[in-house]
């Protein structure tokens, strides 16, 4: 197989799909080269938050980038609905991080203060609320809830439907999506890239690496680097119940169809084929201390997934100096940032250059300085 494309996007998860959709939307000829069903996909482990609060400690630019994504998610949801008829159930009426006991409350309050004191970060109105203030908005909280932080910009979405909408949209834009095509080599000659796959070679004018943790091996093929690694997370889902949670939490959210998702573990053990029941027990216990009535619900599904984590927690967007037209994109928050990827990154790829004023801070060159940067890309 040998065919001309304007852009080849490597990776068909939420990140690659959003970028490919955005480039297809601009009328370019795009191919998405994806792995198969058993790939370790971060898109399978997402918690579906469109989340702003507490992001960007240590990198103010990330706060601004996240706020921008939050502000344009509505436009993305509307365009996907218009194009595909699929409602991704975006809800952005503010979200909570609840605390149990006084120590957690004090720690969270300290984080909020540090965020407020950070110079140059966009304001997203994150504030601490007392237990009684929280109870006015979430009447079913339990007695152990000491309060929490709230940001009016936070929200969530149906991420499965978002993923489906992107892929439906890709087809409508005429984008070629090829599964079972892991890329083994990328070379550049005669002004175009040649991507070797198990089922033939693909040629494209530009290449975008959006392959999650596989970016670590792909990026050096085009003179880029992607310092990142996998983390593991577990998610617990209950049976459907009447709506009780009008706002999403960092660790609990109720989907538009009534199930309750409990999540947000971060583990170093990287085998995603087994469950760590002790971790699930802690997550379920904390959930039912926050909302005692959850203890009555049956769990219908639980699974472990591998997520993506750039070394300092913040996204990486970079372009190759030695192989012009090659880009690398890595991020942990592929749901939150989907609108930026579909609109901003796609536009920059088509134009041929990342815009320093928007994404200059996210170059992987920041790792060259050997700073021991361990930030708060992820709350």
């Amino acid at each position: 197989m040998s065919k001309e494309y304007d852009v080849a996007v490597v990776g068909g998860g939420l990140l690659g799909s959003a970028i490919a959709w955005g480039i297809g939307r601009l009328g370019k000829k795009v191919v998405v080269l994806d792995e198969g069903d058993i790939a370790k996909r971060a898109s399978r482990a997402n918690f579906a938050l469109v989340w702003v609060q507490s992001k960007g400690l240590g990198m103010p630019a990330y706060t601004g980038w996240t706020v921008r994504a939050s502000e344009t998610w509505g436009k993305l949801a509307a365009e996907l609905k218009d194009q595909t008829g699929l409602d991704v159930a975006l809800q952005q009426n503010g979200g909570f991080h609840l605390t149990l006991g006084e120590n957690e409350f004090a720690q969270r309050a300290q984080l909020v203060t540090r965020m407020h004191n950070q110079v140059g970060a966009a304001d997203y109105k994150m504030e601490m609320l007392s237990a009684s203030e929280v109870r006015r908005m979430l009447p079913l909280i339990g007695p152990e809830v000491s309060g929490g932080s709230f940001s009016p910009l936070d929200g969530h979405v149906n991420s499965l439907r978002t993923f489906r909408a992107f892929h439906t949209g890709l087809k409508l834009f005429g984008v070629d999506y090829f599964p079972e095509r892991p890329v083994s080599a990328i070379t550049r000659s005669g002004g175009e890239f040649r991507l070797s796959t198990s089922q033939g070679e693909i040629r494209a004018g530009k290449v975008v690496l959006s392959a999650g943790n596989a970016n670590q091996t792909l990026a050096p093929m085009v003179g880029l680097s992607a310092p990142m690694g996998p983390t593991r997370g577990q998610i617990v889902v209950t049976e459907r119940t009447m709506p009780f949670l009008p706002h999403p939490l960092t660790t609990i959210r109720q989907t538009d169809e009534g199930t309750v998702m409990i999540g947000d573990s971060k583990e170093d053990q990287l085998d995603d084929r087994t469950l760590n029941h002790a971790v699930n027990a802690v997550m379920a216990d904390r959930a039912q201390r926050m909302f005692p009535h959850l203890a009555r619900l049956n769990v219908v599904r639980t699974w472990a997934g591998i997520r993506v984590m750039p070394r300092d927690g913040f996204p990486i967007y970079d372009q190759s100096a030695s192989a012009p037209g090659a880009f690398v994109t890595c991020c942990h928050s592929g749901v939150t940032l989907a609108s930026n990827h579909a609109f901003e990154i796609a536009r920059m790829v088509v134009a041929g250059a990342l815009e320093p004023e928007l994404v200059g801070a996210f170059s992987a060159r920041r790792f060259d300085a050997n700073r021991a940067a361990t930030g708060s890309g992820y709350y």
Binding site: L140, E239, R240, M242, R296
Partner: protein, 98 residues
């Protein structure tokens, strides 16, 4: 729709369905008792609200979900009836606290 066999001489068990007394038989599952009651025992599904009756009768399809003694989303086809059991046909999602 369903009729008890004339040879069925099992002992009666008295249950309450949506506040109305219903006679079941010892050894009936909740779903069997509901289907045999002659009442409209269709539940409403959690998302679309479509009407449903018990279907597979062997614990697989979850179309028999029902509130039993105040606990929602029980599989009626897997629970034997008991004297005085309170059954409510579940309309939609499991209620908070049930």
């Amino acid at each position: 729709m369903f009729k008890r066999s004339a040879q069925d001489d099992r002992r009666p068990v008295h249950i309450v369905v949506d506040g109305v007394a219903v006679e079941a038989r010892e050894g009936d599952t909740v779903s069997a008792a509901l289907l045999a009651s002659g009442r409209d025992v269709r539940r409403a599904t959690a998302v679309s609200g479509a009407p449903r009756l018990p279907y597979c009768m062997m614990g697989v399809c979850f179309d028999c979900l029902v509130t039993i003694d105040g606990v929602g989303n029980r599989q009626g086809c897997l629970v034997p009836v008991a004297e005085g059991m309170q059954i409510d046909i579940q309309k939609g999602k499991r209620e908070i606290g049930r």
